[in-house]
């Protein structure tokens, strides 16, 4: 018997370079704000789930002790970029099984600790030893996509232009200035055909959501909330030989399972926050989510179908490309955006009459896998 689970509050700090803040300093204020906004006492919290990748030992406990939130289980979750969403999935599982009523989920990451450059990957990995970096993985996806479809580098740039346009409306975004196709194409090259604005920035961030059972929500006198209609977590499957890099099975399969669990399809969605770590990813994920036929994701960006006024607004927050991508925080920040959009609190970037939202975040560079992890959530205004 699975019980309905709701997100009843969300808080986050603007993503950016917060060099003087530790993991604790990044996370404590959204933690307090999310608890207050949920209308709960800290004694109401049954469990804490903390997504991070580079925070080190006991990151969650270090944060929680600052506000005297102890005793209850605190679970630290590392699934690379999918850490925060995986933490939400774990909280959802516990509540939907009736084990607990209220969970706090923290996503936090401090990437400025590395002083810039690309994300550190596991030195145990064979391809990491050979020099792979995440921009190169996506660049090879892009090369193949341009080879197999009629997409061009200008189309890759359009994704960044849309992300910056959305980010300009979002006070939480790291980049708040619009850009043009020309600027994107003429920017510094990172890994051909990707230029710097086609890659998500390095930054720091923290986001917190509170999840509650239907029972707890009623007791709390029904603050605005959204229902978790689906929560899906998949891990990557190894391929020793050919892998179609523009049809990532982990995202296709996760989306299929999420739609089945929620009982909705791509046409029902009003917004999607997807894992646009690099601009090519967005085109491929349009196809993975059934918004377009394989090879035709590019039509959606050209025709403006995925911005405000289109069929479905993709990354209204500005996405990872514009809002920023502090890895462990990103999945929770996506859910915060869904919460604000579906409860009419998104300000200048509010989507008119939004009822259904999907969030999608993958994680990890591991040889032989498309991605290490993929988490998809679907939410309904409630």
């Amino acid at each position: 018997m699975s019980e309905n689970v709701f997100v009843i509050s969300a808080a986050m700090i603007p993503f950016g370079k917060h060099r003087t803040s530790s993991y604790v300093g990044l996370a404590v204020s959204p933690l307090i704000d999310a608890i207050r906004d949920a209308g709960i006492e800290k004694s109401d919290v049954d469990a804490v789930y903390v997504g991070h990748s580079y925070g080190g030992m006991m990151t969650g406990q270090r944060i929680c002790k600052e506000i005297g939130l102890g005793t209850v289980p605190t679970v630290n979750v590392d699934n690379a970029c999918s850490s925060g969403a995986t933490a939400i999935h774990e909280a959802w599982q516990a509540i939907s099984q009736g084990l607990i009523d209220i969970a706090v989920v923290i996503g936090v990451e401090k990437l400025t600790q590395f002083g810039g450059g690309t994300l550190p990957l596991s030195p145990e990995d064979r391809e990491v030893k050979q020099g792979i970096i995440m921009p190169a993985v996506y660049a090879m996806r892009a090369t193949r996509y341009l080879h197999e479809t009629d997409a061009t580098p200008e189309d890759l740039a359009l994704v960044s232009v849309k992300a910056r346009k959305h980010g300009a409306l979002n006070p939480f975004a790291q980049f708040r200035k619009e850009t043009t196709v020309e600027e994107v194409l003429n920017a510094r090259r990172v890994a051909d055909p990707l230029t710097l604005p086609m890659c998500c920035p390095t930054g720091d961030g923290a986001a917190v959501v509170v999840l509650a059972s239907e029972r707890a929500r009623k007791r709390l006198d029904s603050k605005p909330g959204i229902r978790v209609a689906a929560s899906v977590l998949h891990s990557g499957h190894v391929a020793e030989g050919f892998r179609d890099m523009i049809k990532p099975e982990i995202s296709y399969d996760s989306a299929r399972d999420a739609y089945a669990m929620a009982g909705v399809g791509p046409k029902d969605l009003d917004m999607i926050e997807l894992h646009d770590a690099f601009s090519i990813a967005e085109l491929i994920y349009y196809e993975a989510f059934g918004l377009a036929e394989p090879g035709h994701g590019v039509d959606l960006i050209r025709d403006g179908k995925t911005t405000f006024g289109g069929d479905v607004v993709v990354n209204p927050s500005g996405g990872l490309l514009s809002k920023g991508h502090p890895v462990g925080a990103s999945g929770v920040a996506q859910v915060a955006e869904a919460f604000w959009q579906l409860t009419d609190q998104a300000g200048a970037r509010q989507i008119d009459k939004a009822r259904w939202a999907m969030t999608h975040v993958t994680g990890g560079g591991t040889a032989g896998l498309d991605h290490g992890a993929c988490t998809i959530h679907i939410f309904e205004a409630a």
Partner: protein
Amino acid sequence: MTTTTEAPASQPIADMEADSLIGTFPEGQRLVGSQCNTCGCTMIGSRVVCSSCISRDVSRVALPSTGVLYSFTRIHVGTAGIRPLGYVDLDNGVRTLADIREGDVPLRPDMRVELGIDDDDWFFTPAAGEKRED
């Protein structure tokens, strides 16, 4: 003294003895692969367990020195200058990440490539006979 059954100790595996993927075989220097003697699955690198059937009965084999370039990029960041890198699908179906050395023929997906070795460096380069595509 009573006889009891004692659980056998699992042993750690030294799976990272050699970082290099290049080895010497009767046919010359080749990429090192592993083949499962139970199910036949072929894999890149010195492996100790078959990722398909979890058999530990795997043998070291030479991988083909020719294949097809699936995709590639030129990395501009980092200290190595511009570094072309790609995925090569070898003629027996195994995929490997590889440095790509560019010659006179522009790189494109699906072109034939062959293994090259320069002292300790190994790479793939457009195969002899690959023509410019204009």
